[in-house]
Symmetry: C2
Subunit: 321 residues, 2 copies
């Protein structure tokens, strides 16, 4: 495995370049896009040609970060001096753009995923960093370029989203030190938090409300299960993707060890399982024809809701009782 | 209005004392209890007699902070050397304990509420502090006493709760600087976050679900309002204190500028108002017989739900349209 380069080496490559294409991963999150925006704005402030090349949509709550930086047009720059991928563990994270990525005269990877094996000419991979945005901040400091309010907002967005707003166990002293410094750069924490966390679709809130008010507790209070039906989607106008987060709310219930969200698809049942501490939901998912991790698993059942629910209850009870 | 004393003066009084009683406010929150625990443990570590005197229950999600510090027994110490109230704007915040408070040979107030007029012999009131816990941290630093992991947890609990986990507009650079320093003192951020935010009563989840699934949108999508009735409390088994957080979820809806939670009390209506960015809900609250801050206000209306709702809608529409 290649050793890391230094931020100085990577910074020099960026400062030498006239044109840079930045690659966040597909299904971009706040860390991928925030990091990309911070770099893109920095390089544009220096008069360089820089674009963030994407292949899918920007999530609604992150669109405020893109002030004309993102494009899906692979011809926006031909053979750029640098291809820089951010928060990507390997090319599978930018599959439709991988050939374009290789067009770069120099390619660089900055990432914080534990599984990442350096695959570029220049690499900086630090699994102990809570967010790639943290590494980008250190890079910009090394480059000595100005961090303005917009760059500060982008780095804060990266850090707050990847740390679950400073609550996840990956949160470190450095996250708070950097955020404190971002205040001096003019970060607007309120604005970013509002955009990222406080622009929830009404339909989503209604759906979560319905789902939670109809939850079922069993296995002596250790299991919480709720159902989202096609009818509930029609009544609220929400999409099935907006069920995201419901199962976590079930798991947060005092005494609940296993949380189950049952989604009624058109011709099948989709299942999301979460364990709080000791239970292994991967085993339950396997028994029901699915799979996953010990604390988060899922599956698909080719049957009706009425048929699926008793089977699910039984498997969960077997695991808990 | 008396000027503030220095942390040195206040610290000396605490260090000279053999016995200290600490007074958080009624309906204690994370800032009041966290600040009190930080001081109490510090003084006990020094071998002093110290108790936190309370007059009501500790909220479930904060009980982990009390490791034998809190008591309702006003005779636990007679005529203590120091009475210290924390996060209290005036004696009305510890009404049932005010005579006991005056028993202290010296009385001290540390607070951060803008409306607080110093009313003790020694006072430190800083409205720019995000939390009283922040002021307690500075006090302990001035005292030069050891801040151990438990004290760090208590101060972190105070700061994270009063800043809405670093999201409210009162959050400052100092909040992050202090939190970064708490990491060096052994703060367990994950443990505190889990206790404070992730051990939710089933009844609370059910109540929030009901309230959100019945929300009303008006003023062209700029206002979101929902009601919690006595019947909903009976049906879910939740307490009115468990409505906390509902109004924030309403404010988080895309396009919503003003969020309103209407609580049906036995013989009156209680109102919670939140503004997202530009609106001033203090004015609305005043028109309805209440008051508060521009972004968070409330009030009590001596009428039925049916009478109150149109009045509230009208005031909110006047403010928005």
């Amino acid at each position: 495995m290649k050793d890391n380069n230094t931020f100085r080496e990577i910074g020099e490559k960026l400062l030498e370049a006239d044109s840079v294409l930045v690659y966040p991963h597909v299904n971009m999150d706040g860390d991928a896009l925030g990091s990309a925006v911070a770099v893109c704005r920095t390089l544009r402030n220096l008069g360089k040609t820089c674009w963030i090349l994407i292949e899918d949509d920007i999530p609604r709550n992150l669109q405020f970060l893109d002030r004309g930086y993102c494009t899906c047009d692979q011809n926006v720059v031909s053979a750029p001096d640098v291809s820089l991928c951010l928060d990507c563990g390997d090319v599978s994270r930018f599959l439709k753009r991988k050939d374009k990525f290789r067009e770069g005269k120099v390619n660089i990877c900055i990432d914080h995923h534990r599984t990442t094996v350096p695959f570029c000419q220049y690499n900086y991979v630090d699994p102990d960093a809570a967010a790639t945005g943290q590494l980008v901040y250190y890079l910009l400091q090394e480059m000595g370029t100005e961090i303005d309010g917009e760059i500060a907002d982008a780095i804060f967005a990266a850090i707050t989203t990847d740390t679950g707003n400073f609550q996840y166990s990956n949160t470190t002293k450095e996250c708070h030190e950097i955020t404190a410094e971002l205040y001096e750069k003019g970060v607007d924490v309120r604005r970013v938090s509002q955009q990222v966390y406080e622009s929830v679709r009404l339909e989503r809130v209604m759906l979560h409300g319905k789902a939670l008010s109809q939850l079922e507790i069993f296995a002596g209070g250790q299991a919480a299960m709720t159902v989202v039906t096609q009818r509930m989607l029609r009544e609220t106008g929400a999409g099935m993707d907006e069920t995201e987060g419901i199962v976590d709310k079930l798991r947060a219930i005092d005494g609940v060890e296993i949380a189950i969200l049952v989604k009624e698809d058109v011709d099948k049942i989709k299942l999301s399982l979460r364990a709080k501490s000791r239970a292994n939901v991967a085993v339950i998912a396997e028994h029901l024809g699915g799979g996953g991790h010990t604390k988060a698993a899922g599956g698909t059942m080719k049957m009706t809701l009425e048929e699926a629910l008793p089977l699910i209850r039984q498997e969960v009870e077997n695991a808990l009782l």
